[in-house]
Subunit: 590 residues, 2 copies
């Protein structure tokens, strides 16, 4: 086995072409063995095996610097740069993250988890090199899907002006997570169809040189191409045509399903778990929106390259027809598009993960909120129980969205309330509305909720009590119920429990009324405390006798945390909160 | 005079070509008369006179819908759509905003002040049209400068896929605010040089049809082109070559200086005011950075299309050479570039207006802060005294930046402290650092400030007092001084005055110590209260006996406000604050 003896790129350079091909098979085998047992990004990594070998064969990492866009195709790179054991030995699988990471290896230059950033970051490395008078190669590796993001374009256009060494490897596997969207992809097709000769060339139009590699899974061809561009003195694109899922028939066939996956049976390709057959908010939302579309032809669902998040699998996309739009990985466009649709009388619903809504703050503010257009945004996986990589946290959407004027950001506590709020958002024509999907687990309360939320910032007292009021936001409402119960058991105190519903404003009347027979207000929110919901309550009561204690998450990029531990560290278990409430009210009585 | 009789686009359609040309002269005369007396966007509007006339001659606004990117070229449109009086009569000059605005006219569809958004917004209008089965033309008008922004690209690529009517008028005047930057502009040149025939065509590469109008200031040619594309069933770009500043020699000659300007002498072109010959932070920063560059060849200043903000006029740009980079209007790229430069040992300083830093939240978070790269960002015009259009507010940078982990956001109180902090930011290699430039007026305190800020979150007590502590952030520090003085005069209470310096963290030791002999903490910040600095102090003291009162701005898109009135409405005069402090401490004594 060659892979076992690869400890650095130097070891790759020593192999013959024939043995490099054997190495590719070994890498692919290791990838499939690990991914089928562990989950991860499947298709993009399988397609990039040969190119990664060729890159390390030709260039001298880490002096030459390779930046992998979004890192979804960086696993083979990890194997060749001293981290093979994390792919070969099951007990070491978790020794590496799913993303490039400078803390892991000197061959990684950035921690990257969002798309479309590699060219700009590489431009930075190149600029510093030029200022220092160094001469290494700087290489950005970017997938065709990532090209749909505006930052990639800004990077390419600026690279095109630089006039010094920068090599952009475009890994064109003809797919984003789902199929690609945008006029650009017709140009990539024209380039592929003409063996790179089409005179109209997106990359050349931005001032970059260009070469095409028809078989991007052929090590010899790749080595030849990379050798041609090594030490070039101008920015150049090497457009390589690869096969997503290469070498594993199910992944080659079902490219969208095998982009990323949970553990699966390597022989059959079937997932090992059916997810418990439980309901999930993505699927429920897709179903709900299709129903809305049937009632109203102006309802339109929007996704930015992740149609699954809003429940639009290929079947639903077909059913929705013109009423579903995937804009590619272009969150900025998605928000502006939604604003434009709403301005002209349509009813857009944009579904997006919490971690990606932060890619369009300015569009939320300028294109949407200044214009008060009634578009709706469903924010998925907001909170601590969503994704747990430092690059994909769902902690920050509350400070991001809720401090923008004019938007109404709602926090439903259960399935019934979510759909009541979503339906109101679609019907009303007065406000931009965002809804924080209360996942990840679907809780059915069986209760009926208001169908009208147009009287803004009216919180709801769900249990009237005294002394202590617990304002429990969105998916932390069940935590509030639990704290209330524990407090009563421990002290007899019957706390008031409040579902605030509105993240974006205070129910001043209710807060004022609480003063009469409460001494302590507790806020619970599943997001960073800094800039969040609870601090607004603390500000409100700042010059009064009311004590306030805010619970939420510390401002940090927590990485690959265990949820229970994170909650404990942040004093977010029901027992911790109950004990701290007791301390405060006991002290008060002294 | 024809212009006086133009009350709607219908009146334009009645004129002969000859008279349309006279109308163009009249519009240009009115523009120059108003702008020389009132200030505003000069060059872009002068160049677009003929195209605007032709648009309204050919299309049927408001059924056909025209969206003007960034609105800098929308003045002639305003004149032709019922708002001529605001250009003809000095007493009505302020009746219109500098931007398109649906509250002003049914011919405006969005309030727009940031660039690169028009194509995406127009895509939204078109999508709603298609869903409703309507058939009007949707037209986006975008300048060549605005094309450098990623959102414009996302919009174009998505438009290229739409397959229905969308007309993108690219107003190519060969300039952004300053000269254009990015490889794209070589392609625009190739298209101009080939009369639109160059086979490599950026717009076509994104799937759009394309026609070129060589003389974009020739009404007949423009009418011909727009007539050709009216009612097309596919997205098409009409690339028109116009002359920025057309018809006014100083503006044609000095395109950057006459992009936007304060009132000027129409005959000589000289500004009416020399700005009082006062120092300004832009100029001082440019001077300072040039000095740093001379000491260290890896120091590099970055601008995103507004080199003047960081003091890099054409002369300084030349002096800086490779150590100055203008990336075009590409804030996302600017931040990622800075991160990349810092990662490879360079010392980047990105200078940007507060209102535009919000265009790169995700890049701040992901490209920069997760990676903890020591790039420096100088944030200009943060606060209420910067720009006062609702699209250009400087109120939101504190919630935007300060709630991101790992960044150190500093708030200097005067010139000396600003440069001490900036210099430290450039020297240190541990943190991403942002500095909130304490303008707009330059205050010289004559004091010496720390040169080292590496021990984070250490606030400074500048006057030790008791009972009341005033934490006065950045450019509101003088307000804190004033409140302290007034309070002492009125009550004899000698308050403690604190310069917190760090926006991004609490000095918990100091806050704890204040409990010993203070009963009230006041926070002053020149930004929205929601998600801001003061709320963190309120949270800290929430469960203690300390009273807290936060002063700052209400969360709203205030528009064209008079600063004094805005401050008063927000209880931000020294008298108001002093009186409110008295109320609280008197009550406490009861």
């Amino acid at each position: 086995m060659y892979l076992e003896n690869i400890n650095s790129p130097e070891d790759v350079k020593r192999l013959s072409i024939e043995n490099l091909n054997i190495l590719a098979d070994e890498i692919r085998h290791a990838l499939l063995t690990k991914l089928s047992a562990h989950g991860g990004h499947i298709g993009p990594n399988l397609g990039m095996v040969e190119a990664t070998i060729a890159l390390h064969y030709v260039f001298n990492s880490p002096v030459d610097k390779i930046v992998y866009d979004v890192s979804h195709q960086s696993y083979a790179h990890k194997m060749l740069t001293g981290r093979k054991d994390a792919f070969l030995h099951a007990e070491e699988y978790d020794e590496v993250t799913g993303y490039t990471n400078p803390r892991e290896s000197k061959h990684d230059f950035f921690t990257i988890g969002h798309t479309s950033t590699s060219v700009s970051l590489a431009c930075g490395l190149a600029k510093a090199r030029d200022l220092k008078g160094d001469r290494e190669n700087i290489i950005a590796v970017i997938g065709d899907g990532s090209l749909s993001g505006g930052e990639a374009y800004e990077g390419l256009s600026n690279a095109g002006e630089t006039g010094t060494n920068l090599i952009v490897v475009v890994n064109d596997n003809e797919m984003s997570i789902a199929e690609n969207h945008g006029g650009l992809y017709q140009n990539l097709k024209a380039l592929r169809d003409s063996d790179g000769q089409a005179p109209c060339n997106f990359f050349k139009s931005l001032g970059l040189d260009y070469i095409y590699v028809k078989n991007g899974n052929d090590i010899t061809a790749l080595i030849h191409a990379f050798t041609r561009v090594k030490n070039v003195s101008r920015p150049v694109v090497v457009h390589i045509h690869t096969l997503k899922g290469k070498g594993y028939t199910p992944a080659e066939t079902y490219k969208e399903r095998y982009h990323w996956g949970m553990p699966f049976n390597l022989e059959t390709g079937q997932p090992l778990s059916d997810g418990g057959n439980t309901e999930d908010y993505c699927n429920l939302t897709g179903k709900f929106l299709l129903e809305q579309m049937q009632k109203d032809p102006t309802v339109v669902a929007i996704s930015s390259g992740t149609p699954a998040v809003i429940g639009f699998n290929p079947e639903r996309r077909q059913q929705a027809g013109k009423q579903f739009v995937d804009v590619g990985i272009a969150e900025e466009h998605a928000v502006a598009l939604a604003s434009g649709i709403a301005a002209n009388g349509g009813r857009p619903v944009y579904g997006v993960y919490s971690t990606f809504i932060q890619r369009c703050y300015d569009q939320l503010s300028q294109d949407l909120c200044i214009n008060r257009n009634p578009a709706v945004i469903s924010v998925f996986l907001g909170g601590s129980a969503g994704m747990n990589d430092e690059t994909h946290l769902g902690f920050f959407d509350i400070p991001l969205i809720s401090n923008i004027p004019n938007i109404v950001y709602l926090a439903p506590t259960c399935k019934e309330e979510y759909f009541a709020m979503l339906e109101w958002g679609i019907k009303q024509t007065t406000h931009p509305v965002a809804v924080r999907v209360p996942g990840p687990v679907v809780i059915e309360s069986g209760e009926t909720f208001d169908s009208d939320y147009s009287e803004l910032n009216r919180y709801k007292i769900t249990c009237q009590g005294e002394r202590v009021a617990i304002i429990a936001l969105g998916n932390f409402y069940p935590l509030g119920e639990s704290v209330r119960r524990k407090l009563q058991e421990a002290t007899g105190v019957q706390a008031t429990l409040i579902n605030p519903r509105y993240i974006t404003g205070l129910d001043k009347q209710m807060l004022e009324d609480l003063k009469a027979n409460h001494q302590l207000v507790i806020t619970l929110e599943d997001g960073v405390l800094d800039g969040g919901f609870g601090e607004k309550i603390a500000r409100y009561y700042g010059d009064s006798e009311m004590k306030v204690k805010n619970y939420g998450l510390k401002k940090e990029f927590a990485d690959r945390f265990v949820l229970e531990e994170l909650l404990k560290e942040n004093h977010l278990t029901d027992t911790q909160i109950t004990n701290e409430i007791r301390e405060i009210i006991d002290k008060k009585q002294d």
